[in-house]
Symmetry: C2
Subunit: 219 residues, 2 copies
């Protein structure tokens, strides 16, 4: 399955500005992108980055450039793939680049849900749409606001069946300092060494358990 | 499968004190408990509440009272169920009472994982243990701090196989104001009318989308 991975090269991860400099946020965003691309490949998908500007990084997968905002860029990518001529277009997935916890298994579940229904959605914490699979020619995205609810409404309007993927890993986009704790917790639990984990540890981040609540410290 | 549901009658949900009075927190906690018990039953489990004091509410399931802290009370409940005499004790689940998003399907997945491994864990956001199934006679819980990591360590020490349940619904315990948005989002998406949702709406809570971020308002 083709998997579009939107990536903003322009001041990424601004909600981490309290704990990371702009350059650090760029580095972490790149590390997460590479982790997500690896997980997609290992899960049987064919990733294609949809970047707002050319990337200087060497990636193994194709990179398309579209400088428009997320919704417009994704819909412009969907248009030619569902051009109305054919009624049996292959489904296309859209997976966010900051899903640092995404595993091949969780993505496989997403892809399978996208084969089984006209639309599959993995909602994010806070009502976003962290990953979806579009298999209905009339469905288009709208990422503003509580997009999970909007996408379900849009699906109902075009009479598309919907599969919901219930995954903590896919629900966790890395936006805020508390999300960094999720990356470290699951890295420790799984004994993994992804790029984003190495980057965080290299930057001095560690789990911090105080008063029974888990956060991060930086040395 | 027998499913223990620990429930604290004493000042529950203190992290919601910014948005709810003490009486309101008690009401919401009771509504969530009933929702969780319903989901367990519908998922094929046999719930049993483990309360810190007698409950005045009428519940359809048995209630045991143990006024000790969570870890001690759960371990005291596990002891007689794995008494060392039999080597083939049935697995026992422990599901938190504030998993207001829990569905029968998500719990069925937990129970199945607990049949397939010595221990199944559904980690919570922040490294907690929101639900687990204990099938190994030597495993005991320790809920303090990043209990998901501690429980995996304890499992390794007693040589118990571990299944991890990746579920946003089971990862979301309702602790903080932002969690109330999760309850309303998924209620709207699923068009459900659980007690906790009715309670929140009745108390004037509604979703609020400002600047693309989703929270709750109260009228």
């Amino acid at each position: 399955m083709e998997v579009l991975v939107p990536f903003s090269t322009d001041r990424p991860k601004s909600r981490l500005s309290g704990v990371l400099t702009p350059d650090e946020r760029v580095s972490l965003a790149r590390a997460m992108l590479r982790d997500v691309l690896d997980a997609i490949e290992a899960g049987g998908g064919e990733p294609r980055v949809l970047a707002t500007a050319p990337l200087d990084a060497e990636l193994r997968c194709p990179v398309d450039v579209d400088d428009r905002p997320l919704t417009a860029a994704v819909n412009a990518a969907l248009d030619p793939r569902f051009d109305g001529e054919s009624t049996d277009s292959d489904p296309v997935a859209v997976v966010m680049a900051d899903l640092a916890l995404a595993t091949p298994g969780a993505l496989r579940e997403l892809f399978a849900a996208g084969e089984a229904a006209d639309l599959a959605i993995a909602p994010g914490r806070g009502g976003g749409t962290n990953a979806l699979v579009v298999g209905h020619p009339e469905f288009r995205v709208d990422y503003h606001g509580a997009s999970y609810l909007d996408h379900r409404r849009i699906a109902a309007e075009v009479d598309a069946s919907v599969g919901v993927v219930d995954s903590h890993r896919l629900a966790t986009d890395i936006d805020e300092p508390a999300d960094l704790a999720e990356v470290l917790i699951h890295a420790e639990a799984d004994d993994n060494e992804r790029r984003s984990v190495r980057w965080l540890r290299g930057a001095g981040f560690a789990l911090d358990v105080t008063d029974g609540r888990v956060g991060v410290t930086r040395e």
